[in-house]
Amino acid sequence: MMDSGFDRRDFLKVMGWSGAAVALSGCGNTSIEDGKETVAPYVEAADYVIPGIGVYYNSSCAQCDAGCSINGRVREGRVLKLEGNPASAINNGRMCGLGQAGVQHHYNPDRVREPLLRNGDKGETITWDKAYELIAEKLSSVDGEEIAFVSGGVSGHLKVLLGNYLSSFGCKNHFVYEALAPGVVRAANKKSYGVEMPRYNIDKAKVVLSFGADFLGSWISPVHFSQQYAQFRKGTNGQRGTLIQVESKMTLTGANADRWVHLRPGTEGILALGIINALGTAKGDIAAAVAGYDRAFVSKETGVPPGQIDKIAALLKLRSPSLVLAGSAAEGYAHGSQNAEAINLLNYVLGNIGKTIEAAAAIPFPQMAPAKGNTAALKTLNDGLAAGKYKVLFNYAANPVFTAPGAMKFKGNMAKADFKVVFAHYFDETALQADLVLPLDSALEDWGTHVPEYMVEGAQINIQQPLMEKIHANTRGMGDILLALLKQRQADEYKNYEDYYAYLRAAMLQNKAALGGVDADDDTFWNETLMNGIVKLEGEATALSGKPNVAGLKLPTLMENDEEYPLHLIPSVNISLRDGRHSNQPWLQESPDPLTTIVWDSWVEIHPKKAAELHISEGDIVEITSKTGSIKTQAYLFPGIHPEAISIPIGQGHEALGRYAKGYGANPFEIMDAIFDEETGELAMHETRVKISKTGQKVIVVKDESAAGAKQIREKIAGRVSTDEVDLSKEV
């Protein structure tokens, strides 16, 4: 009686539990839908299955490349929820929404279940052996140069196997393609700091000046940066860190900034140099290089008021160390490299290098180090396809048909290859173009090792292990597939490895010593490795180079206004949908975009002032036209964007990818021009110019935000104070 509230819940629990049990029926989840599976009574269950008790397994999150370690809750042989693995330095037991949705990637009803061979315009189911034979046969007829292999970022043993496979027929065309990779920043960092991916210590900085780096949302390693950010906000002895975000379209990070500075798209570099100039601490050639960038000029170019520039400079002077970040907004232009370098230069001038920017350790096994995805690869691939260089095309963990700029006509070019093999989880746009579709295990069913690109402390290898049995009998892990394919070519080399698991185990045990298991016997070492989910290593120290050279630094002044296409198109990266490969995970579709709270759709953000000029109001269906093409979507008036720019989120507008993604919204890639960064050849995603026009249709925007338009009325709901009104030192 004392807590009958709970008693009732107990009852409910039982209900829920048995209800679930009925729906799930036993442990062997092979072929749920055709009801062939047998219900295994719990008394016969594997000894780790204790009815009603959750068991936790460590593994790695495969939703993005940040390399968070996860801790999966498994009950009655089913994975229920993914928590963060507290042992990981990257996410310390934390998880982002995207990572949480990993289970919906795994349980997704639209997964590919059988190997399919194109027959006319529909696929016919074939056996794996048949599929392997087919590949072998096709490969035998072409030589290595005529084979292209497209993949997303790969690392660890999978990368090794893939490398071995490609070299087994002398193919050098491995295109590592990630639609949203910080390619330009890597290059710029290499030039400025001597390393591609240094370690950023946001938590150590007193001021963070970010040029469009959405490190809380989608940039490099968001979950890790978020934790640093929390520390940075708490500050040391009450000295709270200050975040200044400079960008043309407000990102999640921008929304959390103390000062959000909007500037004309593409002028980030100029502002950076202007700030150096305003600081006045630079000497020698740097001083010379920035001499021209005085307040008046910079202000004219960027549209940032002179006073603002001074304030920023003053604050940077006042509080040290600080940290300056160059993000995707800065790099997305034809002169992206210059932008990035100019911004990095600011770090040098402020003397942050070595304090808030440190060299990260490198993984001692270079062959396992991540093959970094970029967009330059896409260009080469596309040109090759267009020229008909490639007869056979493999595609894995990338969806170029969806993410390639419309101007590239990738879909058409892809058709020129006469045999296209796609390893897929779902029928995405690329899989639909394939001749042979091979179904993959989900990340929660597969083995693997991953090496994150952004190392937090020392180096680490993440272990990926299955959290439950396969849902679909006929899917395979990528590793197993590669192994099988390798066996076709070098049977005797791989004959000892019955499957990828065996290979992985052997490979790990081989380097037991180097992996910190010197005096452990194989089984103990292996089990501990699996238990931890992470192998932490010293890593090889790398050094930051000294002084960057500013000779090459040349920033275009005021970009001439395009009369026909007056607006800049900013394809924004949604925190949960990213490049669109996750759009079929309903939780992500239904979790509102933080800034607009719009769900299940695309929208175009326009500044209210601009909208008034164009007589556009919320919910108007507008047509956005570029040189390349045009798309239609709903308008949303958004104050956090430069009036000369409009922004459309990436990730929607799928023509495939299953019931939760197909037919929602529009895909901004379709109208993207093929403009590339002059230095790195990376795709300049922010360069596309567009015009916008009303179609006359109007819809009610589906969003969580209310008619009050995200304003607090009457009552105090979300309180705010300025730093001089609070004393954080007393806080817990």
Binding site: M1, M2, D3, S4, G5
Partner: protein
Amino acid sequence: MSKRHLLALFSNFDEAELVVQELRTTKIDGFNVNDDMVVKSAIEHPEVEEFLGEKPVYVQWFTLFGATMGGLLGFFLISGAQANFYAQLKGGKPIVPLPPNFVLTYEMFILGGVFITVLGFLICAGLPARRSPLYSANVSEDQIGILVKSDEIATDKLKEIFSKHQALEIQEEAGK
């Protein structure tokens, strides 16, 4: 000694009144005015009180009882029920919050009152009743009926009185 019934019908009330007075005044043995006479009418005549003399009505006592019981039952049933929730506060209010209980007590008070009153009515008015041996549908229309019960010997005397006052009709119980 067996009794016989007589029913006389009168067109208007004044006649009936005279009849009743005469029956009262004239001494007829085998006939007792107070017990053996019933006046039937289509409407409720306040005057009936006057010439039949005060007769007590007990319905109010039922009402009093019903209302009180209803009220008490209401209050204690509700408070008692609420007392079961002592582990589950609601909205920070006391477990036995008086204001709501008073509202409900009030309703129960009325409910009990009405129900028992009706019960009382049925009892006091002797309803549902078995139909009396002599009845004329005219009574429910516009005529006044006087039903008397008497020994055989009184019958003629009564008839005579009735007819003297222009009784429209005199019904007599079929003899045995």
